[in-house]
Amino acid sequence: MNPTYPIYALRRLAQAVVVVLLAYVFTFVVISVLPGDPVSSTLRNPENGFTEEQIAQIVAYYGLDRPVYVQLWESLSRFVVGDFGISLRSSLPVSGTIADALPSTLALAGTALVVAIVLAFAVAYGTQRVPVRYGQGLLRSFPALFLSVPNFVIGLLLLNVFAFQLGLFSVIDPNSGWATFFAAVALGIPVSAQIAEVLITGLDHEAEQEYASVARSRGLGRTRLFFAHLLKPSSLPVVTVVALTVGELLGGALITEAVFGRAGVGSVVQSAVASQDLPVLQAVVSLAAAVFVVVNLIADLVYPLLDPRVSIVPSSPHVARRRRRTADGPPQASGPLAKEQVSAS
């Protein structure tokens, strides 16, 4: 590894911290701008029958009657020392709420990522392996199909068939193996589409290269060619796409969790948004920002392993990124991600 790597890593880390803090402040400002405050809107449920006086008393207890900048300062200084405060909705410590929700979502998102990658590779492999007359075209349309079916529809179908008809799992125990697997399939299918798309484009590009033709002319089998020569260079942009899909996995988890009755970060976000539960939302946004930053960092670390020509230039992470991407990779990838993934040299 490059000896200047530690400096580069530290810079990236500092950047990450700033990103997380900015996300925190941004969330605070956005929610403060929204009309109403979370506590009084909950208490105003007509069935409660609380008087304005009683509501004001509670609003004062949570300090929500103070100026916004005072609230922001207090909240931020707590956050810096790792204290997420008390949920306005449940009155429980936010850290506990997040800690309870996280394992289920991690299991779901992790499994979904595996499902997405396996599915993407299977489809991509098929497009190189299956002759045109046996339905290669059909395989090539799979990514578009996967993207166009909303994941709640897939989720409801899987739930009906495998939970309600076949009884493989129950909505009462949504963290069991099968329940997690099928929820992950629902979540993973749309995500696999982008991975497959990028991989197919990469494979097509590599297959046209001279070395591939040479290998083929020497009588190398399609399977060997795929695994020994085409796969590795084509996987490079896939790493970037996978890193980007983390956000999608978190967003999709919200819907998937609702359909499958799973309690997780998605349902925490849902109830926090509905009740404008500021401390919880801030913890979740900061967490999501942190995850995103970390995953992208990992992607950056994986790049040099896939392609030794990728260099880390310490002077500016910006340059490092650009250089790295110009090093190699298919010249074009379809879709809006293309600019992010590669730029031809």
Partner: protein
């Protein structure tokens, strides 16, 4: 309006998915095995209750009146008195009670041997602690009093272990029934002594009910198990011993079609809150529909007399007769829903039928508008002095059927020459833009109460009242009726005053009733028997059992 369209498309898609779930469910089979232990074949069994939200917090005062948590509080706590669906009051933890002539002092006699699940005795001291907690909350801890607890409460003292004396600074005829209100749950003094944060953790909770909290996960589930030594159930339910069921699992499943699918495939025995339109299909498949009405106000609009054009009684009266309530019942609900008979639900003991006073009569409604000077223009809209006769309806976000009702009402009004718009908000925006705005012309309201005396504290601004119609204390007749209800020392006199109040409020067009309200919808497996509903429309699973 892309947003609306997407939402509609989503709703349609979910509807289709739900129908698939229904059809698929027919093929599924219920595999309920109630383990018959002991001599009574009703003993034992576990049920699963799928709920669409577990609400907000578990701090008793803040959540016991919630439509969601209230289900669970009802199984793990007891009340001093039991109030049934018809408003009849009977003994529970309080065996008997007396009151003085002017209803300012009450003496409660408690059952002996009642304990909370933490072992603390439910004695007079514990009851005093609870009464103070309901009436005053705990300001230091940021805990509010329960809504609708009599504001005339002065204090209570423990005369001996089983006798409590309660005092009020004015006649409070509604005190005893209010003890059966869903907020009035008896909580162990040890739980009450905890901080707000600790009270929010349900595992710290201790009540005296037939079930105890076995485990819970915030925003996901609550598992209750039977308390074996329970022996003080309300006689009105025909049972005082421990419950039949071994456990009840409340599980949050926010997606309605998933709840339906789980019920029809036998994974759950009860599901809560689905659209009325789904009910007929489930009933046809043999599922039991529970749509208990609570004691309280009917569902309707309270009219703000300070907002034009509702400052004119003729306009309000016209509005009263402009709404075709039958059409709403036929379109939005199933035939199990009932028309409103007045401003209070017809199961309230003091209710009387006032249907004629606000009956649908488009002709009369039009005449009243003519009389008020609103002339019909060539474009079908009425105007007066260059002003258009217009109103905005804000559907109540707490009621799923509210926007459908408002759409119909807007059509009915438009036919008479109104310029109506319907503006929808989510819960938090609604609070800010509609409930808090003094100029909101029509505010859709319903409210549960156990005792009709509550009505008095709501209608005007007196005594911290909610001032429903924006009249303050300016209406002499209303003030007089309010005082007669609040200060009544005799239930017959009070019923008379309530009857007069209904007539006055309806004739003045201050409250426009629409339908009788059902806010809690239960659908349950036919195996589950013996379920009863109390006066605030919560299911009691204390007497429920699973049939083989």
């Amino acid at each position: 309006m892309t947003h609306r369209r997407t939402r509609r498309a989503l709703a349609a898609a979910l509807g289709i998915a739900a129908s698939i779930a229904l059809v698929a469910g027919c093929a599924g089979q219920a595999d309920e095995a109630s383990s018959a232990s002991g001599e009574d074949s009703r003993e034992g069994g576990d049920i699963v209750f799928l709920i669409n939200s577990l609400g907000t917090s578990w701090v008793p005062n803040e959540s016991s009146v919630s439509s969601y948590e209230g289900n669970i509080w009802g199984q793990i706590t007891d009340k001093l008195v039991y109030v049934d669906e018809e408003g009849a009051v009977s003994p529970w933890v309080a065996e008997s009670w007396e009151q003085n002539d002017d209803a300012t002092e009450f003496t409660l006699h408690l059952k002996e041997g009642v304990t909370f699940s933490d072992g603390t005795a439910l004695d007079a001291e514990a009851v005093v602690a609870n009464l103070d907690y309901w009436a005053f909350g705990d300001e230091e801890k940021g805990i509010i009093p329960i809504g609708l607890f009599p504001k005339t409460y002065v204090g209570a003292e423990a005369v001996d272990d089983t006798t409590v004396k309660v005092s009020f600074d004015a006649s409070t005829l509604g005190f005893i029934p209010t003890l059966g209100y869903h907020g009035s749950i008896l909580v162990s003094p040890e739980t009450l002594a905890l901080s707000k944060e600790e009270q929010a953790d349900l595992s710290n909770f201790s009540g005296s009910g037939p079930f105890v909290v076995e485990s819970w996960a915030d925003g996901d589930n609550v598992v209750l198990s039977k308390r074996d030594d329970y022996a003080w159930g309300p006689e009105a339910l025909g049972r005082t011993d421990a419950a039949y069921l071994d456990s009840i699992t409340y599980k949050l499943v926010s997606e309605a079609s998933t709840r339906i699918g789980a019920l029809t495939s036998g994974q759950a025995q009860v599901i809560y809150n689905i659209q009325p339109s789904e009910l007929d299909g489930l009933a046809d498949q043999g599922y039991t529909i529970g749509i208990p009405r609570y004691l309280g106000f009917t569902n309707g609009y309270r009219v703000n007399v300070n907002a034009e054009p509702f400052d004119d009684a003729l306009v309000r009266q016209s509005f009263q007769h402009a709404i075709d309530r039958q059409e709403i019942l036929d379109t939005v609900y199933t035939e199990d829903w009932q028309a409103a008979e007045g401003i209070v639900q017809s199961n309230v003991p003091e209710a009387s039928d006032h249907s004629d006073e606000f009956a649908y009569d488009a002709e009369q409604a039009a005449e009243l508008l003519d009389e008020a000077g609103w002339e019909l223009g060539p474009d079908g809209v009425r105007t007066k002095d260059g002003e258009t006769l217009s109103v905005t309806l804000y559907p109540n976000p707490y009621l799923t059927t509210s926007s459908a009702i408002d759409e119909l009402v807007s059509q009915q009004l438009a036919a008479l020459g109104w310029d109506v718009s319907v503006q929808e908000y989510d819960v938090s925006t609604y609070a800010e833009k509609v409930s808090n705005d003094e100029n909101t012309p029509l505010y859709e309201t319903t409210r549960s109460f156990i005792d009709v005396g509550t009505v008095a504290s709501i209608l005007t601004s007196a005594n911290n009242g909610e001032d429903w119609f924006g009249l303050g204390e300016s209406d002499e007749t209303l003030n007089d009726l309010r005082d007669r209800i609040a200060q009544a020392t005799d239930t017959d006199l009070r019923a008379e005053a309530v009857d007069e109040l209904q007539t006055y409020v309806l004739e003045q067009g201050l409250f426009i009733p629409v339908t009788q309200i059902v806010q809690r919808i239960y659908v349950q497996s036919p195996d589950l028997q013996g379920v009863t509903y109390n006066g605030v429309a919560y299911a009691n699973y204390y007497t429920a059992y699973l049939e083989d």
